[in-house]
Structures are given as structure tokens and as C-alpha cells.
């Protein structure tokens, strides 16, 4: 099979994995050196496709042959898709060629399970090893870890890769057992745990050999099972806490050809995915807990973002006086992000904060008006009920009607 055909099949097969970021690697460069590649620590998106997702890495499967039968996956063994397999050399060459033309920041390599977990993992490791050792490639490498593989192989993977990921796939034990019969949450967690232990070791022993300096991440598919956002966020929180993950990626389930009856035929729940990302960001960056954002079972609101929903449900904390309130609480105000919160803290050391400052900082005035007090502004106390505010501030429901023809189906 031609390289071009393989690329077509194996990129198509890889696009359901949401993770793509190339950030977090230590700074490296190749000036005056043999080989190729640099990392800036920031990660660069080199293009965007019409689905709005960025292209940062060459994201492909080594092969889409797979002996497993995960119901949500297009490459499951009972799926009737064209199959292909790259040779190790081909992936190495493609990565370098794409890199030289500045299409990508590196490689994100995953694979169907062929023969056994160990065999598959060996192949993935071989690609990374060849890139690093033979070609002195200093760009970004992300390897998908096969959870049942020998821990020694995972260790070696961490030597070459900037980031490792083990996908949890679904938010509950029951769903994994039902939809991914060959996988086991127990071994997935053990694999994540073993990666975290190596990361901890490396942190304590800076001279130890390299180990996945950009940490580990995971992906959860949203909408393939009946789990609600409450469950999903709790699982995410568990994973962040237990395995110190850099990121949990949420991937709205996309209907696949010849879909098995066990998974929905519905359009991907993109707005729900979006809200989960927003909530996740609040967990990671803003110090919210899952329990605060989702005190009850159910799903995140679709009409307002999770921070606004939290503020509306917790009116007793508001309005906050920007000139007095504890600095750590400012980012909890709707319409004020982390960066502007920091700027406001800096500014109020110089002088009193006024309403006009918020407008110059391009805060979302409509959102924050009922929630702040400044030197020259005070919202009308208790004048507006949360319900009314919510109606006023709800996002336009554009996403809801994106696929009317599919909604009807």
C-alpha cells in the first residue's frame, strides 16, 4: 500500500482522540547540533481544520488493526473498516518531513492492539526511540500507553516521550466493562499510578534519566454512555488528584459507520463537551471542586457557563467589592478571567478600581455587573432574582440548532 493511502486511513482512525496539545516539554533546541527540533514549552498549533480543532502534532495510529472490540471505537475488530499499518521507519520519516516544513510540532502516536499489549507497546516505543536516538529529533513526542503493557516498556516509553497518556475512555467501571470488554479500569488506573510514581521519582531525583517531562494525560468519551456530567467531573477530579494528570480531555462521541446498537447514533454533544472543558478549567486553574460546580447529579447547564451557573446559585457571596475582597476570590467573579484577576490585584495596589477599568480590561461587563462593587459602582442590591439574571445572560442557543436534520432523526 502506498504511504499516502496508509496516511489517509491511519489519520482518519486517529482523529477521535481529542488530545493534541504540544505544551509542557522542557525547552530544547537544535542550533549547531545534528538532528532536528525545538520545544518552546508553549506548544504551537500549526493549523486548524474546519471542525475547529488545531493541528499541532502528527496524530496517527501505528496501525488500526485491533483485536479489541470497544463499542465506541471505529477500529474495533468487528468493524468493517479498511486496515493499514505503518512500518516504524515510515512514521519516523513522515514526522521529520512534516516537521521540516513546519506543519507540526511533533508526533502523537497511538495504535490499535495487535497481537498483545506488550507487542504493541514495543512498536510504539521503537518509533520514539528511533526518532530520538538515531535521528536526534528534539521535537515533541506523545505516546499513547497501552495499559496492560509491561511496566518496563512504559518506563522506556517515558524515556523518549514528552508526554504519556493512558485513556480512561469512559467515566465508570460499569461503562468500561460493558462497552470495552477487553479493557479494565483497574489496570488503567494501575498504569496511571505507575507513571505517576516514575514522575514523582524523577522530581525527587533530578539526575535520574528523563521521564515524560510534560507529564501524563487521559481522555474520556462523552455521550457514548449514559453517565452524567456529575459523574464525569467526579471521575476527572479523582484522576487529577490521584495521578497528577496535566489534562483530562473530553471527546464528544462521534457517530461511527456501522455503529453497533450499544452506542448512540446521535450527533456529537459538542456544547456539552464545551461546558465540560469550561468546568474542567475551573477545577484546574480556579480552585473549584467538582462538588461546588455540580453539587447534585445531572448535567452542567447548557444555557450559561459553569462559573456563571455557580455564581447564580451562590448569590450570598456577591456582590464582591473589587477593592476589598480577598485576591483569591476575584477569579470567581463571572466575566473576570485569571489574567484580568491578576491585573486587578496589581492595579488596586496603585489606586482604587473603578468601573471604567473593567471596561478597558475588556471584562465581560454584562456578566459581571450584578456581581461586583467598585469605587464608583454598586449593583442594585437584591433587585434582580437569579432566574431573571439567568434569562438575561444566557448564551444564545446557537449550538442547539446546528444540526436540525440530525436532531430530528
Amino acid at each position: 500500500m502506498e504511504l499516502n493511502d496508509k496516511l489517509e486511513i491511519l489519520a482518519d482512525a486517529a482523529k477521535y482522540d481529542a488530545s493534541c496539545a504540544s505544551s509542557g516539554a522542557p525547552k530544547r533546541g537544535s542550533e549547531g547540533k545534528d538532528g532536528l527540533g525545538a520545544t518552546t514549552g508553549m506548544g504551537i498549533c500549526h493549523s486548524y481544520t474546519p471542525d475547529g480543532r488545531c493541528v499541532s502534532l502528527l496524530k496517527i495510529l501505528l496501525t488500526n488493526f485491533c483485536i479489541y472490540d470497544c463499542q465506541y471505537c471505529i477500529n474495533r475488530r468487528t468493524s468493517n473498516v479498511p486496515r493499514a499499518r505503518f512500518a516504524v521507519d515510515e512514521v519516523v520519516k513522515l514526522t521529520q518531513d512534516f516537521y521540516l516544513r513546519n506543519y507540526i510540532d511533533g508526533l502523537f502516536l497511538s495504535s490499535g492492539i495487535i497481537q498483545s499489549a506488550d507487542y504493541t507497546m514495543e512498536q510504539l516505543v521503537a518509533v520514539a526511540r528511533q526518532l530520538r536516538e538515531v535521528h536526534q529529533f528534539r521535537g515533541y513526542i506523545h505516546l499513547k500507553t497501552i495499559p496492560d503493557a509491561d511496566p518496563l516498556l512504559i518506563q522506556e516509553a517515558g524515556r523518549w516521550a514528552d508526554r504519556l497518556s493512558v485513556n480512561i475512555e469512559l467515566p465508570t467501571h460499569d461503562s468500561v466493562t460493558r462497552l470495552a470488554p477487553e479493557k479494565s479500569v483497574h489496570t488503567i488506573k494501575l498504569a496511571m499510578g505507575s507513571i505517576r510514581r516514575k514522575l514523582d521519582e524523577k522530581a525527587e531525583e533530578p539526575k535520574a534519566p528523563n521521564f515524560a517531562p510534560a507529564g501524563q494525560s487521559t481522555q474520556m468519551i462523552v455521550g457514548a454512555d449514559a453517565s452524567d456530567d456529575h459523574t464525569i467531573l467526579n471521575t476527572a477530579e479523582t484522576l487529577y488528584g490521584s495521578y497528577k494528570l496535566k489534562r483530562v480531555y473530553y471527546s464528544a462521541f462521534s457517530p461511527i459507520p456501522q455503529s453497533p446498537g450499544s452506542v448512540p447514533l446521535a450527533p456529537p454533544p459538542l456544547l456539552r463537551e464545551h461546558r465540560l472543558y469550561q468546568a474542567d478549567f475551573l477545577l484546574r486553574g480556579y480552585g473549584f471542586t467538582a462538588g461546588e460546580l455540580m453539587p447534585q447529579t445531572g448535567n452542567l447547564a447548557l444555557d450559561v457557563d459553569p462559573k456563571l451557573a455557580w455564581a447564580l446559585a451562590n448569590r450570598e457571596h456577591f456582590p464582591m467589592d473589587l477593592n476589598r475582597v480577598d485576591a483569591s476570590l476575584i477569579p470567581r467573579i463571572p466575566g473576570i478571567g485569571l489574567r484580568n484577576a491578576k491585573r486587578l490585584v496589581e492595579l488596586r495596589r496603585l489606586r482604587r478600581i473603578r468601573w471604567e477599568d473593567l471596561s478597558r480590561l475588556r471584562c465581560s461587563l454584562k456578566k459581571l455587573a450584578p456581581f461586583v462593587v467598585t469605587a464608583d459602582y454598586k449593583p442594585a442590591q437584591g433587585a434582580t432574582s437569579s432566574d431573571l439574571l439567568r434569562k438575561h445572560m444566557a448564551d444564545a442557543p446557537q449550538q442547539m440548532n446546528l444540526w436540525p436534520e440530525l436532531q430530528a432523526a
Partner: protein, 517 residues
Amino acid sequence: MKPGASPAELAAGAVAAVRAGRPLLVRDFTEWRAVARELLGARVAPASVTWGAPGEDLFSGAPASIAAAHNGGDLLSAATQADEQEPINGTTPRPHIPRSLMEMLQTAACYRDHDRWAFLYRVIWRWQQGEHDVQSPADADGQRLNSMVKAVRREVHDMHAYIRFRERPIEAGAPHFVAWFEPAHDVLPQVAEHFVARMGKVSWMIATPDASVLWDGATLHQTGPLMSSAADLIDAGEALWLTYYRSIFNPARLNTQVMNSHIPSRFWKNLPEGALVPSLVSQAGLGARRIGQVEAVGRRSGRTIPIEAEQAQPERQQPSKLDECRRCDLWEHATQAVGGEGPKSAKIMIVGEQPGDQEDLAGQPFVGPAGKLLDRVFEQAGVDRKGVYITNAVKHFKWEPRGKRRLHKTPAQKEIEACHYWLEKEIATRKPKVIVAMGATALKSVLQTGSVTLKDKLGHPVRHGDSWVVTIYHPSYVLRVPDESAKHEAFSVMVKGLKLAQELLDRLDVPEPPSAS
């Protein structure tokens, strides 16, 4: 002012030029900085200065800029050094400009705007007057400064991201890779650095409408414009990229709004994949959105993998009964159950509360900080840890999130009760002569009562079933005690308890003395 004057010469004549009503011509940030410092020193107000820039072109006649930018980083550091060496003159106070503001000014200086130098001078003047909020985006000038900085950074980022190199045949010689780009601001020198680090010894050139940079594998050269587009360069390698771009796009998620918000339209015409976008969008509109698969893949014939379900199942160790325990909810947020550890013949059983963060990952009891402390207790008491059996009252780690950490949480009575099933089994099979309960949870579990307190039993061994039960503190308690002497005291209570356990055992082990005959 004569052309080609050094920044110092420029600066020296600046005040006189302003007084004479002549415009100040500066070509780059280094020159502006030297001149601005001189003017500030002489307290020349912004309103009285006219700034001009020859052709608004960073490169014309300024060959030093790229070399300086590339040599160990930035113009600023070179300028800062100069600052320390040469006093301007005995009387003028040296302006104290913080580094963060200087960096902003330097970045903003790349913004193509006819009055950039005048604006930057106003900012630095205001700072000097004590108006420090001029740096904040909440100030009107600060807002403009910040948005200039943002636009320049954005342009640098976009150029890092959206430059596309095309490969030239080896026979054509260096440069091996060539790119064309139309930057909106004067960011080429900065961007060149990025590609020097990225491309190693491979030669390349980036051409823009006003200037070009060329890396020959070892040195960076800058020249005037060399090309007017890259349209005539043909690179066969590009076809693979287009295939990749087509295939990685998921038509089920079509969302052109986000795509367009990330890549401004002026870039698309120079991106090879730009030409694909309209057809991909319209195909997605034609129903391909129902599935994620790309059309070309869907058309090929596929195949299933003929393998039996049992054979596909990976070989795993059978999970133990303990691993499968669902007697309470603690299993769900833990990694694994942590059972006891120690020789079959052990006569002493040590019972702790529950595994912690480290134990949960390792699957072994007392390997974390509490385990380390316990090791010291063993050592002091003269008891061999390897000879005893160590376990916990509750087998799964109970915790609550605190940021990205797990904070230990004391198990509830119902969890202790649920998990007693396992402890009871361990006691029944090992039949320890002495059980050392560490802390209240262990004590409650061993004695099977919720009402007992640690205080009652500390230092008072009790009989329970066939064993003695000795109560000591939990090592985590010792770790938590804030004051040193109390910590010491708690530690010695643990040592004493363990010694006592050993003594009890020795006493039990002493064979009955033979009766006198």
C-alpha cells in the same frame, strides 16, 4: 543628524535637535532607547518632540539588528549593559525603568504604526512622572501599549505557526527549505531565532515583502527582499500534508466559526491546506456529518479482524477477592486495595488505619512517610519489621481532593465495619499472639466497638479473643504533632508500645518451667 550615526551619537545630539525644532529620526528600538533616555534626563516633555522614522522600515540600513537579536537573545540585554557602563552626564538622574516595562516597550516597538516612537516616549515619560498605571491595560495609554504588545506577540506566534517551508531539490544548493510570509509587524528578527533553534544544521530562508533572512546551517544572514511570493516553488512532499489535513478533519464536528477565529483570513492564501477548506466544508454539509469518517476511507473495502473474544482478552492476573470488594464505596476513588504484608508465621500483627496516597499507588502498606516513621519505631524498639505482619483496618484509601492533591480522610464507622470482614479473615488465618492497634480507627476495628477511645487503652494491653491487644499512636499522628517535644513524646509512646508487644510475646513464648522434681 548624519546617517549611520551610532545610538550614542544620536542620543548626544537629541536634546539640541529638539530645541532646534528638528525631527528625531530613529530606526530601531536600540536607537530610540538611547535617545529617549537622553531626553528624559533633560526633562524634555513628549509634546515638544517630533519623531520620524526613515521609511518605517526596520531593516533598511540597519544590518545590526538581526545579529543583535540573535546574539544571545535580545536588544534589551545589550542596551542594559550599556546602561551600566556609561554615565550620561554627571547631573541627569538615571531613569529607573523596570524590566517588565522595558520588555513591553521593546515588543511594542515592533508594531507598525507611524507614531510608535512618539507613543513609546509618552509612556516612558509618564512612568517617569510617577504615573505607574501607564503600564496597566486599565489606563488609556496602557491599554494601547498592551494591545500593541499583544498584536506583536500574536504576529510572532502566527509566524511560528503558519510559515510553510517548501523543499528545494538538493542539487539547487542552499537554502534547502524556503518560506514566504507577509508579517503585519516587524517581527522577522525574532522569528528567525525560533527557526534557528528548530532546524538544526538544515539550511533555510524566510522571505517577506521587505526583508529576508537566510540560515546557511551555521550563520544567519539578513538581506533585503528576495522574492515576491513562493507560488512557483513546487514541493512534492506537500501532497502528504494535504492528505493528512483532509483525513484528520472530523466532518461530524464541523465548526468553521472556531477555525476562522483562530486563523485570520489573510494567512489562508499562503497555507497549502487553505485551498482544501471550501470543499471539506461543503462535503461535510452534504451529509458526511452523520459520521466522522473521511469519504475516501469510507469508499474503500474494509475488513473485520477474525479473532475470538476469549483470545482477544489480555492475560491478566486474576483480581483478588479483595480487589473486587464492593462492601463500601471507597474502592471507587482508590487505585487498588492494599492488603496486609508479612510472613505467615508472624506472631505480631500491626494494624494501621488505611493506606495513604503512596500506599494506594504502590499496593503495599506503609511505604510512604508514615511507613518511614514506623521503620524508625521498629528500629528503636529493637523489633524486626520483616518478622511482623502489617495491615490496615480499612483496605482502600479514603481521601478528598485539595487542588491536585489527595487529602487523607478518616474512614467512617460504617466503612470500618464493612471492611472488618477482611481484617477478621487476616486475624483468623494468621492467629497473631499480639495485635498492635495504631490509632483509634484500628482500635475500634480490632475490638469491634465504636465507643472505645485511644486514651483509655494507651499503655494498657487488653486480652481480646486469643490475642493481646496493645494500643499505640498512629505514625501519621506523630507526623502531625506540631510541637517538637510532644512529637518526641508521642514517638516514644509508640516505641514503648512496640517493646511491650515484644515482651508480651516473649512471656507467652516462655515454655512453662518444668515442675520441680
